[in-house]
Amino acid sequence: MTEHTPSTAASSGDPATSFLQQHHFLFRRLHSLSGILPVGVFVIMHLFTNFQMLGGDFQHEVDFIHSTPALLVVEITLWLSIAFHAGLGLVYTFSGRPNVRRYRYGGNWRYYLQRITGFIALGFIFVHVATLRWRWDLFGWFTPFYVRGFDGQPLAHATTAMALQHARWVVAIYLIGAMSVVYHWSNGLWTSAITWGVTISAPAQRRWGYVCAALGIALTVFSLGAVVGALKYHVTDEDRRSIRMTVDFYESGGTDADTKPRPHTATHGHE
């Protein structure tokens, strides 16, 4: 973009800082774009897929996603997008100072919540991906997500249900985390329309606000439905046996290109 030397910020000698400053506008716009497109579109797909746990064919949807060619490339793109968005977001967040106690306007609360939910979403997404996707064992909450068992039996719903049914605090974390993500994306979609100059007049901003609110409500319904669907699932002894055998299979060297061998190989009791 424009190589205009700023009069206000040209003083910094730190090369990383001055690179960010020279391309300040570009990075701000990419920060906005990275939140809307890769991350946001994925969140819509993800929550709609999860919603299928409530009466839909969840296994079929997950199988479909896992049949995506070069899925790992898609995943890495998402992880990098989230890291980029979160990293810059943290820098930008600390460039402001919330003042909701003095100025209690709705817009000011949305500004404040956007930053709070950003922090929560970052922590939640990390824990979520680390436990289910990377199969980390966090605080004894070992709930690896498997689409299918080592011999092909469907496990998507059962492993998700076991993860959520582990304890009430897990449900609380998922509800708070998912609501934070939904708010952050819906409100971000609204403000991005102002940032990019899509909605200019106050009535246009209001109309687009209704659209974003409707999207947010739909995603909230999807999330709540998914949690209910996971909690309603009855995990049978057969499921537990399949999951245990699948975990053992992969831990003793079974091949799964996406799965890194975990250092932690102790047996885990879920019963």
Partner: protein, 257 residues
């Protein structure tokens, strides 16, 4: 001092500061207020009778004012927690919302003394975005292009900005120690970009607004439009400049140097 016994008295709590680098402190004053009194007339009373509520004679409170009809912006301060002009803050209305009138200097500008602040950053920002119409030259340029009535209406709303700083005081992104240019200057860039002759400097303005501290540092809290005493559609200006910078940046990417 002799006060008219018919007059009501109201307590003023004033945040004072002797010099830019010294610590602030609070003093109370009891001020009689006739009907129609405003904060400035009460400050005039304190200047003439600088005696605190507990009877000490102190240095008079310093403040800034000029037009006394809410068009210059000089007397802007934080009154009962809300940033506004003190000339149009009527005591009768303030007395309804609180028992005392609390006066503080704006927090986003360096304090000169007591309620006086240095707003020169706002004027520097106007220079940065070239908030003028370039007509100076060595020969007559003839009449300018015609301005449509619709464009005049849009621009009239923006022209009411008096650089008072309310929008910046309420903004969570505009801080004493950062470089954000703020809503007032962004809106003035839109104002001059919409002028048929002023738009010849549009690229310069947009490039200035694409630097760190420019329009993209807006956090969309939209407090600015809530507190603007002139009802300027500041958030529409920010969105309009958002569109102009988006288009300008894309054009620069594909056809710029």
């Amino acid at each position: 001092m002799a006060t008219n016994t018919d007059q009501k008295t109201i307590r003023f709590k004033v945040k004072r500061q002797d010099a830019p680098q010294t610590a602030p402190y609070w003093q109370d004053f009891d001020v009689p207020h006739p009907p129609g009194a405003n904060v400035i007339s009460c400050l005039l009373h304190i200047a003439a009778n600088p005696v605190t509520a507990d009877g000490r004679t102190v240095a008079p409170v310093a403040w800034d004012c000029n037009c006394l009809e809410e068009v210059c912006g000089a007397c802007t301060m934080v009154i009962n927690g809300r940033v506004r002009q003190s000339c149009s803050a009527l005591i009768s209305e303030l007395a309804e919302e609180a028992a005392a009138v609390t006066l503080e200097p704006m927090t986003k500008f360096p304090v000169v003394r007591d309620l006086m602040v240095d707003r020169s950053r706002m004027f520097k920002n106007l220079i940065d975005i070239k908030a003028w119409v370039p007509i100076d030259g060595t020969h007559a340029l003839g009449p300018g292009p015609t301005e449509s009535p619709a464009n005049q209406d849009t621009r009239y709303a923006l022209s009411r900005c008096m650089t008072c700083g309310c929008c910046l005081e309420a903004c969570p992104q505009f801080l004493l120690d950062n470089h954000f240019i703020g809503a007032a200057a962004i809106s003035q860039a839109r104002y001059f970009n919409a002028h048929e002759t002023g738009k010849t400097l549009q690229d310069d303005r947009l490039e200035a607004l694409e630097t760190p501290g420019g329009v993209s540092d807006c956090g969309n809290a939209q407090n600015c439009v809530q507190v603007c005493p002139k009802d300027i559609p500041l958030t529409e200006s920010i969105a309009a400049i958002g569109r102009q910078t988006t288009v300008h940046a894309i054009k620069s990417f594909f056809s710029g140097k």
